[in-house]
């Protein structure tokens, strides 16, 4: 197993370099560069723009720029952001954590709610409660998450029950640790709900489908015929088999932890990576974009690996040699 994990990590290195190269080429293939906004500013002279061009090495060939970036990367330097004029890692650090926190909250909420809901719906198939759950799933699934966020914010502004966006209140530093935690949690409620409602609807349906399929299998019939108690049949035999495909999904979900929340972040003023990246891509702040793509790549690889390991643990038929 260890050998397998090691091998996966080795494969990951060229993969990440490939992601980086592709991002680099794609972003440079689109016309223009970071200086375009400056070019349309009447207060900048031709000479100053040329100076910037040299400074940012836009005058060098693409390959030279890429190799320079890789060299810096090997020294663990992610380069400078053009826009903010500071090293990329100084900007990304705190925002990475914030996005992670928000996505993790959404992720946990999704799984904790959707899995039991799916099972419950499957066990009451076609009864009133199942119909209700399925109806609301359709509705929630078709509502875009940013719209939900807007609705929640509107509700919060009317009722005053929850803070309107942001991550912590002014005066956060003077709170006790417990107060700080509840403050962040209160701010988390709206974005996390907006983020997870659509996913809950979707995941719940998958869980329900899997469960129904397994419940129709002959070994469930056998188990029941043996006289096993119904609880044991469902939660031990059926659930274990039904949840297998979801473990793969878990891996994918993990990989989108850093990238799935941009819209919600912007609307809820959550100081995360998504909104930062959106502006970075639009203004072609290339090294900032590259750093984020790299981070996304790492998450993807780790997520997949976790899923594979989880799968092996859950299903004795799967073995990696």
């Amino acid at each position: 197993m260890l050998k397998y994990i090691l091998k996966r990590f080795l494969v990951a290195v060229p993969m990440l370099l490939g992601i980086a190269l592709l991002t680099f080429v794609l972003i440079r293939m689109t016309p223009g560069n970071y200086l375009d906004t400056v070019r349309l500013d009447p207060q900048f002279s031709q000479e100053t723009i040329a100076y910037y061009e040299k400074l940012y090495q836009f005058d060098k060939p693409l390959l030279v720029q890429y190799i320079q970036w890789i060299k810096n990367l090997l020294r663990l330097e992610l380069g400078y952001s053009f826009h903010y004029n500071v090293p990329v890692y100084r900007i990304i650090g705190s925002r990475l954590w914030n996005t992670f926190l928000l996505s993790l909250a959404g992720f946990l909420l999704t799984w904790v709610v959707a899995i039991p809901l799916g099972i419950w719906a499957a066990l009451h198939r076609n009864q009133f409660i199942d119909r209700c759950i399925q109806f609301f799933s359709y509705v929630c699934f078709s509502l875009p998450s940013f719209f939900l966020a807007m609705l929640f914010l509107f509700w919060a502004s009317q009722s005053g029950a929850l803070p309107l966006g942001g991550m912590y209140s002014p005066g956060f530093e003077s709170l006790k640790p417990w107060g700080q935690l509840t403050d962040i949690l209160r701010h988390l409620v709206i974005p996390a709900m907006a983020l997870s409602i659509g996913s809950i609807a979707w995941l719940q349906r998958i869980m329900r489908g899997n469960m129904l399929e397994v419940l129709g299998q002959q070994y469930i019939l056998t188990a029941r015929a043996k006289g096993l108690p119904e609880n044991r049949v469902i939660y031990l035999h059926a659930l274990r088999n039904a949840i297998n495909p979801l473990i793969t999904l878990l891996g994918y979900e993990f990989s989108s932890l850093l990238s799935g929340a941009a819209l919600i972040e912007i609307i809820c003023s959550w100081p995360g990576l998504g909104s930062l990246m959106l502006t970075a891509v639009r203004s072609k702040d290339i090294y900032l974009v590259m750093a984020s793509m790299l981070m996304g790549g790492v998450m993807f690889i780790v997520g997949n690996l976790l899923a594979d390991i989880g799968l092996a643990k859950a299903d004795p038929r799967i073995r990696y040699e």
């Binding site: 207060q43 002279s45 914010l153 309107l164 991550m167 003023s269 100081p271």
Partner: protein
């Protein structure tokens, strides 16, 4: 509690100059002069007074006594000399300020006379000099080392601890949470006193929330978190009736600075690689014909744009220096009213007719009057204006192929490949006409209809060049205004840029502030140091 839409780029006023940065640095740093928020006249600020030699070349500034940096050190002439000689004129530091303070490649000589006297010697007369002296002064004692080590470009970035950022302004930065908020506190050392002799500023703290989405900003204002909100046209009917209940006032400060205009490619050049002309010759002939451009101007329904795009809040724009420019605005330029008949007449007079009766016009040689029309995607206001213009022009019998391009694509077409026919774009404006020289002088890189000309292509472009060269050296304000009035008149006659509408500056502000004096130029909080919170409010 105020708000801003995006994170600052830097706290370094020399390196970054766009609004999200100057919003922050504007509270912290000050210049020798300032611009009056009502009259747009230049007034003394850190400098108490100044003298100028009769030839207009040597300016001596006397600094106010008793001005201290917010760490307690006194401001001296050394700081001024340092800001110019070691920062702005430092070839290793990129800065747009250098472009402003360089005339024909020559820089100003800046010398210290004594601790509170600085002398500027100019290579030639430079009329915008005093206004330019609002350039923020930075502390030598904090930044000298960074300059010597060559680290200045990366100093005072957004990762700097706030207490390290030292200025003379009324407030100092105490906290910055990226993506969330900026907190300023009162600078206890601030030099300015109120008329009653109180130490200013009155406010103890200002908090800026960073809110990216304008709808959320509105919610936060309605809820009471924010004390001021920049009202969009669409919000006005919602907010205005709520003034009493919400305990706020909606201030209309008149037209804003930004302009939106359509223009045609008049560049006769050829692509050096393919040898193909940038614009097909028959189209170039139309675009270079002022009568054609006038017909287009008559066909644009500015009132409809104001009604549809800005919810009836806006002003038609006629002159390159809008009313917001104050002193230099020339209201007596040629106005082009919406008049389709007149537009048709002009087009007929230049030989455009619908010969094959297909609903579209053709020129004398039978070429279909057709052109491409671009604007940048992502700017919804501009997209809406473009749609209306297109409709108007098609009504006139022109075949307009509209496309929204990505901003970067559009910029590279405008500035390097020159492959475009008509474009709708906007530029920010200012009150100093000379700072538009990159747009108006025929050699400028932003002379977008035909940039970087070696010699002026037309008589009127030649005259505008002359006006800008004379205007920058004319120290008599009256004569200067005459010159720039003439330039505005020429532009309105020749229409290289066909202006559309100006937006409005409307703000909703809670009724909790005393001494609030909204002004067209300075906007709501230009006198922030004098503003206090009225009794009974938090």
């Amino acid at each position: 509690m105020l708000s801003t839409t995006s994170d600052p780029r830097s706290f370094n006023d020399i390196i970054a100059k766009e609004t999200s940065t100057t919003l922050v640095t504007g509270h912290i740093f000050e210049g020798l002069t300032t611009t009056n928020a009502f009259t747009t006249k230049v007034e003394p600020h850190l400098a108490e007074r100044w003298e100028v030699s009769p030839d207009g070349l040597v300016w001596t500034f006397y600094l106010k006594e008793g001005v201290v940096w917010n760490d307690g050190r006194p401001l001296t002439a050394d700081d001024v000399v340092f800001t110019f000689n070691d920062l702005i004129y430092n070839p290793d530091i990129p800065s747009s300020a250098r472009d402003i303070f360089t005339i024909d490649g020559k820089i100003f000589k800046v010398e210290k006379m004594d601790d509170h006297t600085v002398r500027f010697t100019l290579p030639v007369k430079f009329a915008p000099f005093l206004r330019g002296m609002s350039q923020p002064i930075l502390p030598q004692h904090k930044l000298k080392k960074a300059v010597e080590d060559g680290r200045f470009n990366f100093t005072w970035g957004i990762d700097t601890a706030p207490e390290k950022i030292v200025g003379t302004g009324p407030f100092r930065l105490t906290r910055y949470d990226p993506g969330q908020r900026l907190i300023f506190e009162r600078n206890p050392f601030y030099w300015k006193k109120s008329e009653e002799g109180d130490s200013l500023p009155y406010l103890d703290q200002i908090v800026y929330l960073i809110v990216q989405n304008a709808d959320v900003e509105l919610l936060k204002f309605m809820e009471g978190t924010l004390d001021s909100y920049s009202v969009r046209g669409m919000d006005y009917p919602l907010l205005k009736p709520l003034e009493k209940d919400g305990d706020f006032t909606v201030y209309d400060l008149g037209p804003d600075m930004g302009s939106q205009f359509i223009f045609f490619n008049q560049n006769p050049g050829k692509n050096p690689n393919t040898g193909k002309p940038f614009v097909e010759p028959h189209k170039l002939a139309w675009f270079r014909n002022a009568a054609f451009r006038r017909a287009v101007a008559h066909a644009i329904d500015k009132d409809k744009i104001i009604e549809i795009v800005n919810n009836n809040l806006g002003y038609p724009q006629h002159s390159p220096m809008g009313p917001a420019a104050g002193f230099f605005h020339n209201p007596h330029v040629v106005h082009y009213d919406y008049d389709l008949e007149k537009a048709r007449e002009i087009l007929r007079g230049t030989g455009f007719m619908d010969k094959d009766k297909d609903g579209f016009l053709e020129d004398e040689k039978g070429n279909l009057l057709e052109f491409s029309f671009y604007t940048n995607a992502g700017n919804t206001e501009r997209m809406d204006i473009a749609a209306i213009i297109r409709q108007d022009l098609e009504g006139l019998g022109m075949k307009v192929n509209f496309r929204a391009l990505e901003f970067n694509t559009l910029v590279s077409r405008l500035t390097s490949t020159f492959e475009w026919e008509a474009v709708l774009l906007g530029l920010t404006g200012g009150i100093e006409p000379h700072f538009g020289k990159n747009v108006w002088m025929s050699s400028g890189q932003l002379h977008m209809w035909y940039p970087r000309q070696e010699s002026p292509a037309t008589e009127w472009e030649k005259r505008i060049d002359e006006i800008f060269i004379q205007g920058v050296q004319e120290l008599d304000e009256k004569k200067r205004k005459q010159l720039y009035d003439e330039y505005q008149l020429i532009v309105s006659e020749q229409l290289p840029l066909i202006y559309t509408i100006l937006g409005v500056k409307i703000y909703a502000v809670r009724n909790k502030f005393g001494n609030l004096k909204p002004a067209p130029y300075g906007e709501i909080f230009h006198n922030l140091e004098e503003i206090y919170i009225k009794e009974g409010y938090k």
